[in-house]
Symmetry: C2
DNA sequence: GTGATTTAATATCGATCATTATGAAAATCG
DNA sequence: CGATTTTCATAATGATCGATATTAAATCAC
């Protein structure tokens, strides 16, 4: 997983992978099938790891949830004990476009991650935390772009501190809370 | 340039490049040296093209300048007559980490593009358009991340309309204009 | 302790990689 | 018009790619 993370699909040779796993070629082929299957398992494992690490329990508002997600990813992307940035981003750029299966799995994993983000934002709209006219898809794409952008900047050498500051900037684009008409209307016009 | 744009460095074979240029191998080697040199020329040409297309003359405020830059890039990244996304981003992900020269040129081009963005924002601060306590580097990194993120989303199939909406969202993170103390102080407290 | 079965390491496969030598065609110039 | 240089296409180079046969080692049942 870390070899693909660092080098991408094509640039990661079997020699690199075998050396990292400290096994021989026949063992790898018996266990995983071929390089493509190994790559898919690595990517799916990565997604499962991130999913487990970023489920953000005990957070009540959508805004806090998104901010915590971005914060955890900023930390993950600059972690010292694995390559910088995001394997999922690396995979999208370097995966072989010839294999339909690879493309399908990558698109599916990406759509799932995207869907979780969108669902939480949508929930915020339904809870009245966000204005009813919030463009949920646009906002989802925006924070998705921030995540991709953080991955690239981390790879280019950005510091964790820098990424966390960027998260704060990104949160400034969060829609202002709606006027609480129903709850407050009868109480006062201030 | 378009072959590298689409496939990245490693996945772009000499056969692909030769077919796209419609020449034979000896001609390419005589003209460019080797694959690495060709790659560098392609990347530098791309940067020059983008630089020429996005100099944004006749724009007065930093905010308009940044918004126009993002808008033009959103349009570029979804242009039909070349691969989607940004070659510079693709290059950063797929360039061989072994060659110090490639890494140096890529870092240099990136730093220059980043520097132009930062310089315009800095100018906005000095002009009083932006608050004096504006974190210029953070804001630069933020819009740089948006650009990278747009590239990835374009590659993943985002529409031009979607990217342009994202630009508007990103502009919501622009710092609020500072109170014009000097100019307006004596006139009123309004 | 010995034979049978599984595990692992070495050697090798054809294919393709980037690169260059070889030879033919074309064009330039005296 | 003929000699020479340049231009281009084909083919071959060693290296490395992903993927397997082949052979050695080790485990285990009896």
């Amino acid at each position: 997983m870390q070899v693909f993370w660092q080098k991408g699909y094509e640039a990661a040779s079997m020699q690199d992978l075998l050396a990292a796993m400290n096994i021989n070629a026949p063992s790898l082929y018996a266990a995983f099938g071929d390089k493509e299957a190994l790559f898919l398992e690595a990517v799916q494992r990565y997604h499962a790891n991130v999913r487990a690490q970023c489920n953000c329990p005990g957070v009540h508002t959508a805004r806090e949830w998104v901010e915590l997600l971005l914060t955890e990813l900023a930390t993950l992307f600059t972690n010292r004990d694995h390559p910088r940035g995001c394997l999922a981003v690396m995979a999208l750029m370097t995966a072989p476009t010839t294999s339909v299966k690879v493309q399908r799995v990558l698109a599916q994993e990406r759509e799932q991650a995207h869907g979780r983000l969108r669902a939480r934002i949508q929930q915020g709209v339904e809870d009245g935390e966000l204005p009813p006219d919030t463009e949920v898809d646009v906002l989802t794409d925006f924070y998705g772009a921030i995540i991709s952008g953080m991955s690239l900047q981390a790879r280019a050498g950005a510091t964790r501190k820098g990424l966390l500051a960027m998260v704060q900037t990104a949160m400034r684009a969060w829609p202002p809370a709606p006027a609480k008409r129903k709850a407050q209307a009868k109480v006062s016009a201030r």
